[in-house]
Symmetry: C2
Subunit: 303 residues, 2 copies
């Protein structure tokens, strides 16, 4: 078995930035990722990657990927199912294969958080979606609901209001949570209706979604909305399941890191980006963290 110096797990902004730096430092490495999609690949318009006023998430991700591919740094598209200590480092397990390395950087990011209400799982792909950018255009001239009034929900609502007849935003808190800039934009749209202090209870349908039931938290009364699409934008959860106790997680399953070096409590194991407990889940922060993790891993490997 060929023992590598470094394996990077994950193909988002943190992993790719780590890969670019690893390639430039000529590390004997490998980047393993299920795909190059993730949160950024599912994002709509991005306006906060410095230097790009306005770029689609997948396009930005493609520019990162193409930058990495410019070097001769091995990439394998395989889903990592497990990670364990080996004699001299770590063993990374994918379907039917395993790879060994001295150091590992985990950059597996996050996935959408489910609402966990009746009808949600049943109607995924039949009106229930976690990705406005992917599925929004399927709802031309239809009424849709978006659950969640943070930045992702607001951006989704703006995009949906270009397609749809009417867009309802359901926010459980008493006010929208996103940037002022986006809140202003949303309030300017005549076909967006805000519902605050409401809790989504149920998604109804036959072959496809036909409606949604919510509780008004002010008076405890339930109401229904007739919608054909329900977009769920209530945050995300870290992709840290495959780690099986090898690293310390915080109470929301994020990998605990030293914020200065991206080291985990396990020697030789580093983590960066949205899968970690880094406070700010932003593309530019994840990219910076990927660089930091690689520079730490480099010192670890060479010293």
């Amino acid at each position: 078995m060929n023992m590598k110096e470094l394996i990077i797990i994950g193909g988002g902004p943190a992993g790719i930035t780590a890969g670019i730096y690893a390639a430039r430092k000529k590390l004997d490495g490998l980047l393993l990722t299920k795909d190059f999609i993730g949160q950024l690949g599912n994002a709509g318009v991005m306006e906060n990657w410095p230097g790009e006023k306005n770029i689609q998430g997948p396009e930005l991700l493609e520019s990162f990927k193409s930058h990495l591919e410019n070097y001769e740094f091995p990439i394998k598209q395989e889903e990592v199912e497990g990670l364990e200590k080996s004699e001299d480092g770590f063993r990374v397990i994918t379907e039917g294969k395993s790879f060994e390395s001295e150091a590992v950087i985990i950059t597996t990011g996050r996935r959408p958080r489910p609402l966990n209400v009746p009808g949600e799982e049943e109607f995924v792909g039949k009106g229930v979606s976690y990705c406005v950018t992917c599925d929004g255009a399927l709802f031309q001239d239809k009424n849709v609901a978006i659950v969640g009034g943070g930045n992702a929900g607001l951006e989704g609502a703006l995009e949906l209001s270009d397609y749809g007849k009417k867009v309802f935003i359901l926010e459980i808190g008493d006010r929208l949570q996103g940037d002022e800039y986006l809140i202003d934009k949303v309030k300017d749209r005549k076909n967006i209706e805000l519902l605050t202090k409401v809790k989504t209870e149920k998604i109804m349908g036959d072959d496809f979604v036909t409606g949604l039931e919510y509780e008004n938290l002010s008076d405890g009364k339930s109401s229904k909305l007739e919608v054909e699409g329900v977009f769920i934008e209530i945050g995300s959860i870290p992709n840290s399941n495959f780690l099986n106790g090898l690293v310390e997680l915080n109470d929301v399953s994020e990998i605990k890191i030293d914020p200065e070096t991206c080291r985990t409590a396990t020697e030789g194991l580093f983590a960066a980006g949205d899968v970690t407990d880094v406070r700010d889940k932003q593309v530019v922060v994840a990219a910076g963290e990927g660089c930091k993790a690689l520079l730490s891993a480099y010192s670890y490997i060479k010293n």
Copy 2:
């Protein structure tokens, strides 16, 4: 006096990223900077900003600046000379003016470290330079020396070897310090000569530089090089002089920050990027730190 919510001091990757996020959050703010040049504006080809395989430093900086200018966020090109506490926040002093704000983010970056040898100050602009990108082309078909064998020195040497007759790299340590990738490139160039374990002692000249004297640390003997240009690439020092004790600095004059939030020990005062004690002085890290500092300052202002 109009009290602002936030003043950002500095116009590099950290400050501009903070500005972009501040603008999107509609903070009542102001960005103050002497200029939009700094280290990135003096950099040559950049190959480690994710998504840009190969871009000139000034071009990348211009894309950041143009992104910020896309919003209506006030920018003033004035050099900050002092910072002090005011009744409700901070007072930022420029030449003949002052500005007040609730919170301040310092992103003033670094400047080149001088060698502090005889002849250096005397011949600045007459053969002594701290910026290959700015001045390299003036040395067509001339012999030049570059002091410093880290990444900046190696990149500089590569650029100079395209113009110059012969390029000497003088490194005080016993081997080059830069990325393997760059070391390989440098070794491939026939007109680059490496001198290791040498200490530059003196820069000589009449109207312009004519040579350089160095000590060979192995045997203590001094030697001379006939060169018409001396480029000094021995690192940099933080632009933290104007702070006059308002924030805690480490022993190399960097602003101490909490690595998770970019807070300084002074409430309401944040710092990001290369002026801080962040371990990794990289453009992508500075940009990420600028985002983190802004999100911390935003919470501070709004809560």
